[in-house]
């Protein structure tokens, strides 16, 4: 669950947005490039700071300009899927996901399981996303669609409380994109994970969203 109000000075205009996402809800933020969508996501994740505002994730205030609260991205537990996947190129697919599994345990201050258990948990994520056969491959050997699935698997493996996706499928071809939509909808069943997905594709918004937010030039146009 997310509640966010932020203002941030961008190169072209001022971002001034207020939004909320219920548990288990998928909010799609749509708009043209440069409208401030990525900035908004980065602020929620803690990768960038708004000038002013308040951000609350699962009833924990992670950012408040008034009370001078600023939790690090590590503490916010907001999973992030980047447009360029940001996979670790020097690690195999399994190592990428295992890294996330152990990071998640450490973040929650729980004892990290043994290597075998971690590998099993990684395997679970692989199977969920249908890439179990790629465990030993390096990211550069994978296709675009496989990379995005791996990025998703990695983000989920850390057991985040919310998931933020920044135009994750824009570089994929039509067929792969439809496949990814199906996977996302499957992922949502049975979880209370709040999703915020940014896209400029109308159809994608229609397919995935429970609610759509239009952003134009830093301001919200529509809340449908």
């Amino acid at each position: 669950m997310i509640q966010a109000t932020c203002t941030r000075q961008l190169p072209e205009y001022m971002l001034d947005v207020s939004l909320s996402v219920a548990p288990g809800e998928t909010l799609v933020i749509q708009g043209e490039s440069g409208a401030g969508k990525t900035s908004l996501l980065e602020c929620i994740a803690g990768l960038a700071a708004p000038d002013c505002g308040t951000i609350i994730i699962n009833q924990v205030t992670v950012w408040s300009s008034q009370d001078r609260i600023n939790l690090s991205p590590q503490e916010r537990a907001a999973g992030f899927v980047f447009q360029d996947t940001a996979l670790f190129p020097h690690m195999s697919a399994r190592e990428n996901v295992s890294f996330a599994v152990t990071a998640g345990y450490r973040r929650r201050h729980e004892t990290v399981p043994q290597k075998k258990a971690v590998a099993a948990l990684a395997q679970q994520e692989f199977e969920r996303l249908g890439i179990a056969h790629l465990a030993h491959a390096r990211p550069r050997m994978l296709s675009g669609g496989e990379r995005q699935r791996l990025a998703l698997a990695r983000a989920l493996a850390a057991q985040p409380s919310v998931l933020l996706l920044d135009e994750p499928f824009s570089a994929l071809d039509r067929k792969t994109r439809e496949e990814m939509w199906r996977i996302v909808r499957e992922l949502k069943t049975g979880t209370r994970l709040s999703l915020v997905l940014v896209t400029h594709d109308h159809e994608e918004a229609q397919v995935l969203a429970d609610r759509i937010l239009q952003i134009d030039r830093g301001l919200i146009h529509d809340d449908a």
């Binding site: 670790f88 998640g104 550069r140």
Partner: protein
Amino acid sequence: MNLLDPILLSLRVAGLATVITAVLGLFLAARLNATRSRPGRILAGGLESVILAPMVFPPTMTGYLLLLLLGPNGPVGSLWGASGGLLFSWLAAVIASVVVSLPLMYQSAKTALTSVDPHCIAAARTLGASERRIFWKITVPLAWPGIAGGMALAFARAIGEFGATLMVAGNIPGATQTIPLALYSAVESGNTHAANLLLGITVALSFAIVIVVRWSERRTAASRAHRLAGGGSR
């Protein structure tokens, strides 16, 4: 002229100096470029100038400054306890080599560390990994070719170090006479045979180092190409 002494001594001095420079250079490159606060950045900029200064000074000037520092009346030498401070010791030779090779290591490490894909680091943060874990598991492995290249350059500079070493360690065969000092002595005394041999060894070492640096350059370029190619779909 005994040629084995200077060769072994050079390897020991340059080896130890490179290890110290590698650790120090990596640490400084990481810390000085991570501060966010304004006073922190000003301090970092000042410290960086001090680190890089020996690259600008002529070696005799670096040698003279070290002489002042390490001599029995200097701030460091007076603490050492020996009657001559740190002068004429192999440790002084190591210090001289560290001071002149540190700028090279620092620059290489800084460039390598700052050109790691920031999205990878951001992704690691969102996964919950601590800054220390990110540094050792993500940043350093990805920056490794550049760091290794820096170490090779540092070793090359340390092995060839002459002016500053002569001043603070002296040219004492068997104790502080490294290859460059032995070469200088051989040339000065007209011992062309020894001089040519030492020259040959120096050239061979330079080739070996250049090979390592070229390898690291290729690895860095390759990993960068992969990263650029791997951004989108295929």
